[in-house]
């Protein structure tokens, strides 16, 4: 794995693209190691010969890089900004992501919000209240990104197990319920924080929020089941100690 990772880690491509390179090169390296072991009968010699046959890591990195299309390079740049960086913790990553999304949302939505707030239109509420609603929405959305992201990773790891994290259906269920609870609470939180007592009947919408929470929870569980194993494999590759700086 180390020989493969030394060649693949420095490649500037999306995580998905690099995982494909890793898996395919690992399958190849394992097969040629088995061939060499059958021929030489010595583990160390077979390993050295298999690595020699695969090629010099730096040269292979350059060749792999040359095979990455422009779209793959753009994906890499986006992942550098919004993606997880090994060995970042889930808390740190989701916090960084929430702050980034908040900054981008504020920057992108400011012209629209100001236009609406300062326009004399037929809205029943004044400009300041409209600004407060928009601001509250952005703030709650960022808090949701942090909490839901964190709970998703905790739930996924408890559901599937990862390195030092043991599988625990009980913990996975607790995190999943918390995930649903955050979703359920987000709607009323926006309404209450933005409008205060004006919408005291927001609780009438509770059944709708419960449905939203259940749907969101179901989707997160489905997503973790389908994509979790690949995400965990990616994390394990990225955290592999390859002995040299990539």
């Amino acid at each position: 794995m180390v020989a493969v990772e030394r060649a693949v880690r420095p490649v500037q491509a999306s995580g998905k693209c690099k995982d494909r390179m890793r898996e395919e090169l690992l399958a190849h390296l394992t097969a040629i190691y088995d061939e060499e072991y059958a021929r030489l009968g010595d583990e160390a010699a077979a390993r050295a010969e298999a690595i020699r046959r695969l090629g010099e890591p730096a040269a292979l990195t350059a060749e792999l890089q040359a095979s990455v299309p422009v779209k793959g390079w753009i994906d890499y740049q986006l992942e550098r900004l919004f993606g997880w960086h090994a060995p970042e913790s889930a808390v740190r990553y989701t916090f960084r992501l929430a702050v980034l999304i908040l900054i981008f949302s504020v920057v992108l939505s400011t012209p629209v919000v100001l236009t609406i707030a300062l326009t004399n239109s037929d809205f029943a509420i004044d400009g300041l209240t409209r600004l407060r609603i928009g601001g509250t929405f952005l703030l709650v959305m960022s808090i949701d990104v942090f909490l839901l992201g964190l709970l998703y990773y905790k739930m996924r790891d408890a559901l599937l197990g990862r390195m030092e994290v043991r599988r625990s259906p009980l913990r996975a269920t607790c995190f999943a319920l918390l995930f649903g609870l955050v979703l359920v609470a987000s709607g009323p939180a926006i309404a209450v924080l933005a409008l205060g007592a004006v919408v005291s009947n927001v609780w009438l919408l509770l059944p709708d929020f419960l449905v939203l929470g259940a749907l969101g929870l179901g989707f997160a569980l489905f997503y973790a089941r389908v994509n979790g194993p690949a995400e965990i494999r990616h994390t394990e590759w990225e955290c592999l100690d390859i002995g040299v700086a990539a």
């Binding site: 060649a7 494909r20 390179m21 890793r22 898996e23 395919e24 090169l25 690992l26 399958a27 190849h28 390296l29 394992t30 097969a31 040629i32 088995d34 046959r53 695969l54 090629g55 010099e56 040269a59 292979l60 060749e63 792999l64 040359a66 095979s67 990455v68 299309p69």
Partner: protein, 114 residues
């Protein structure tokens, strides 16, 4: 005869890969075996170099690939099975024509053909 190393194959590796896939779909190691077999043991490739060439061919739509379901009874990662596409077949025909022309021209210059 002296072995032929990767540097001398530059520019031809992709056409050679397409040629091996004419015999049917194959994963990377099988493609290498076919190349070695066709090269009578005189081809010396850094085996990792095969994959960037395969990725370029896939990106160009000249080969299509899909993952093998599971590594049945085999250690290591999953393998991808590559097959020739219609575009790849056309590119192979063009590559062969170019090669014939190249050999003919150089043969005339070097006096290797009658």
């Amino acid at each position: 005869m002296e072995p032929i190393h990767g540097d001398k194959l530059r520019g031809h590796l992709e056409t050679m890969i397409l040629s091996t896939l004419e015999r049917g779909e194959a994963h990377g190691l099988e493609i290498l075996r076919r190349l070695e077999e066709a090269g009578c043991g005189l081809l010396r490739l850094k085996e990792g170099s095969l994959y960037p060439a395969l990725y370029r061919l896939e990106e160009a739509g000249e080969v299509a690939a899909e993952w093998e379901p599971e590594p049945h009874g085999r250690r290591g990662g999953r393998r991808r099975l590559y097959r020739l596409t219609d575009k790849g077949t056309r590119r192979l025909a063009e590559g062969r024509a170019e090669w014939q022309q190249f050999v003919s021209v150089l043969g005339n210059i070097l006096g290797a053909t009658s």
